[in-house]
Symmetry: C2
Subunit: 513 residues, 2 copies
């Protein structure tokens, strides 16, 4: 069966997993019966447990169950590996792993768990490194299900993901489970993704190294939601929570792209008093934030809010009065994480509020401008942020599909990377459909999605910003690096890319060696 | 059938409404499948509606549905009457009214709605005045179901109450439903009870007189939960939100009782560094708070938290450093309501966090000392706060059953009121079972529940606090006012008193004229 982005979907898999094919980026008004946890009532008098081993017994974890984690500690996470090692040691089998995402520090452990048969199913926002390699080479029998952050919230809220036990590391908690992420040794700011697990998992285990007196407030996670609290030595390495995301780029190509991205924003009809934006993480994003700041100062324009994963430079805009509020679902660096405790208008939001397409209105629906990256973008403006040029899993959907819901969605990417074209005829894997992408910005110039004719007038005559068709940009890329040989895959699906509404967008197949 | 407090329960009604008889104040560890709303998905672009009439059409309200309101505006509520008048005008029939409670300002309108057949079922925390009269005289065909605040949260969370449409007045909201109660013209502080409705109702309508720019934070109610926002002229009268609750008593009898209550607290084993308390509202409660303050200063003891409905004197203790945190489910006066915006440690909590017996641990489970009132208390320490000496409904359960969960639960009451005994052989209506009451304090002296022999040592020799058996106090009351003639009731049940776990505690029958 072909879906509406012309991807062939295997009929048997569609049937087995009850998938509908991707149709449209319009969500409409379906009626959704929400799911709800099965709660084991407790008066909260003896929640404190002294070890992970003990708590695994207490929650009644069994083979075949679904367990979850969050990835807010990013590369500084100690909780995931500690819990998983014990599950491996105890010989659990057939677990479904349903974390909000998998960071590099978790890869080795997941590989080990897969090889031991402990983990047989995975749903995540992404995967990289040796885990991506293993899965792409057919090392996991069942295809990984890859979901955006908003889609994970949707899936949990509707029951598509049913979490039996959530293991949630927190920088602090009291003995009955009132917890936040703004105090303690390994502060990460917003608990955004974990809040959904705390609300919907049947059993919720908090792991913390910092016990606070009762009642611990603010309580992002509440005592009403928590079954057990485990005191561990260290939940994470605060120095690695923000690693790799905060360096301001000095690469002239990245700076040029950032300057053009800013020019597109500031010449668009959306750059006006009270506009809103999401810039994301990475050196190029930080550069955009810097240029945007200068433009806002020059034009005396302030933003009503900034959204998404948050960095220190965005917090600086808030403190400078250039941004009214920050809606913060995760913090990409220590500066943003630390500021949450002292910055009233840096509001923690959960993943549903951020981006669930199936609620009564998420923050992404109010977003004016959004800047996203791409591994590949094709002439239909479809974007791949999941598979590399070798067809191997090495990315994450993150909030990509979700934030692309903005009124002006800009893909910022170099025209080629090394010997690899970024702009191509057809992306290897479609993550975000071209219908939600408005402008591509490369160092050579920009391409405007033909569906956005309304943008032409304001964007065609920006000094220093040449406008091309996306086909012209593809040709320029091909001229630089030549046409890549087609990739060879087996017919075994190794990963399924859902759209944010839970329909099937694309299938990633096992690479042929 | 007799339940464990020896109340005869009508078998047919038990069967029809699938009630279990009240057994014990111990909640245990049942597994509860939580309920969840049916959500109509929306991207939040057109939630603002110009009139109540229009929103009633948009939410698809139908005869027989269940509607809810909160009572945080107390006697200053404009929202309830405005909505109900329109439902009457439009000729709706057979609605179930499920507010968090009914205040006096709503009485006339509910009577009108009952007489018009618009409302045929009611569940509430209490009822008074002409509404209590009407129901007690058989004016509503189906018995009212009376639940504590914690039990209402339990009932909604488990699906015993299924709210089709919640009409929630808020002092402010943005156009997509991010709302709080700490800014605006009619600030009432904590949205505690309404938060459950916002989370569990299929359709949620906010009514406000103050629209804020997006994104409005803090968002006690979130855009993800709200279907429509109606702009009205005025949601409430801020002067009447705290009416009647804040006067400090000058009645020497009340002051004497308050002084003895304080003596009981301070001589008990619970009065130590880090203790916690709930004092409630009313002049006598405020007097207790004043005496308690003096004792805390004298002994250099500070409390970890104060809980419940909050008054200005409790906020003063917080600001003075005598109380560490306030867990605030509702505010009884303007001072407490206004302070929430500026007082970091005055934490808004929802009704589930406050007192739901069927979650993973509510705040009342952590409570050391609690002072409650009584219309009647009997020699088994059972307490009536619902029916008057004429058998007519004139009270509210409120958090009575819930807070009685404290380690030291004190009933503070005069031995007689006018010509009516407070201490009796058998209360007219059992609301809170004697098993959860520890000490009765009257102006003549105290009685200690014989089940609390452990308290005897610390409480028997307090200077100026005579100790009696409760039978002795009953005799003293009878000596003053004589034995009341037994009340005459028909066999028509007009109200059912649930215990907080949803079992049946008592039945109120129609009074005989």
């Amino acid at each position: 069966m072909l879906n509406n982005v012309q991807r062939e979907l295997p009929d048997d898999l569609m049937k087995e997993l009850r998938y509908q094919p991707f149709k449209t980026v319009e969500i409409g008004h379906p009626e959704i019966q929400r799911a709800a946890p099965k709660v084991t009532v407790d008066q909260g008098h003896a929640k404190l447990v002294s070890s992970i081993e003990a708590v695994i017994k207490k929650v009644g974890l069994k083979d075949g169950m679904t367990i979850s984690f969050h990835h807010h500690f990013r590369e500084g996470d100690y909780v995931f590996n500690a819990v998983m090692q014990i599950l491996i040691d105890q010989g659990f089998k057939g677990l479904t792993l349903a974390p909000s995402s998998l960071t590099n520090v978790m890869n080795k452990m997941v590989v080990k768990a897969i090889k031991a048969g402990v983990v047989t199913h995975i749903t995540s926002s992404g995967m990289r490194g040796e885990l991506g390699d293993l899965v792409s080479h057919g090392g996991l029998e069942n295809p990984v299900i890859l979901r955006s952050h908003g889609n994970r919230a949707r899936a949990i809220e509707s029951g598509d993901i049913k979490i039996d036990v959530a293991f949630l590391g927190v920088p602090n908690s009291d003995e009955v489970g009132n917890a936040n992420a703004i105090k303690g040794n390994a502060v990460f700011g917003s608990l955004g993704y974990a809040l959904i697990d705390a609300q919907y998992a049947d059993k919720v285990v908090l792991l913390t190294d910092t016990l606070m007196p009762y009642p611990n407030t603010p309580a992002s996670i509440k005592q009403t939601q928590v079954d057990y609290v485990v005191k561990v030595d260290k939940v994470g390495d605060p120095e690695k929570i923000g690693s790799g995301a905060t360096r301001f780029t000095k690469d002239p190509k990245e700076l040029k792209i950032a300057e053009m991205v800013n020019a597109v924003i500031t010449h668009s009809p959306y750059f006006k008093q009270g506009f809103s934006f999401q810039t994301g993480s990475g050196g190029a994003a930080l550069a955009v934030t810097r240029y945007l700041r200068e433009s806002m100062l020059k034009k005396s324009i302030t933003a009503s809010f900034a959204l998404g994963g948050i960095t220190k430079p965005t917090v600086d805009l808030l403190n400078e009065g250039l941004v009214g509020k920050i809606l913060d679902v995760q913090d990409f660096d220590k500066g943003a994480a630390d500021s949450m405790a002292i910055t009233e208008n840096q509001q923690e939001i959960d993943a549903s509020w951020y981006a669930d397409p199936n609620n009564k209105g998420a923050a992404v629906n109010q977003l004016d401008v959004c800047i996203l990256s791409a591994l590949e973008i094709d002439t239909k403006f479809n974007v791949n942020v999941m598979t590399g040029s070798d067809g191997v899993l090495r990315g994450a959907i993150g909030g990509h599909q979700d934030a692309a819901n903005a009124k002006l969605t800009i893909i910022s990417a170099p025209i080629v990377r090394g010997r690899i074209a970024t702009v191509v005829d057809d992306v290897t894997t479609i993550v975000t459909p071209g219908d939600s992408i408005d402008v591509l910005v490369t160092e050579l110039g920009i391409a405007i999605n033909p569906k956005r004719k309304d943008l032409l007038k304001s964007l065609v005559n920006i000094p220093g910003v040449p406008v091309f068709t996306i086909e012209q940009l593809r040709q320029k890329a091909a001229k630089i690096v030549g046409q890549a040989a087609p990739l060879a895959f087996t017919d075994k699906p190794v990963a399924l890319i859902e759209y944010r509404d839970g329909t099937l967008m694309d299938v990633v197949y096992q690479v042929k060696d």
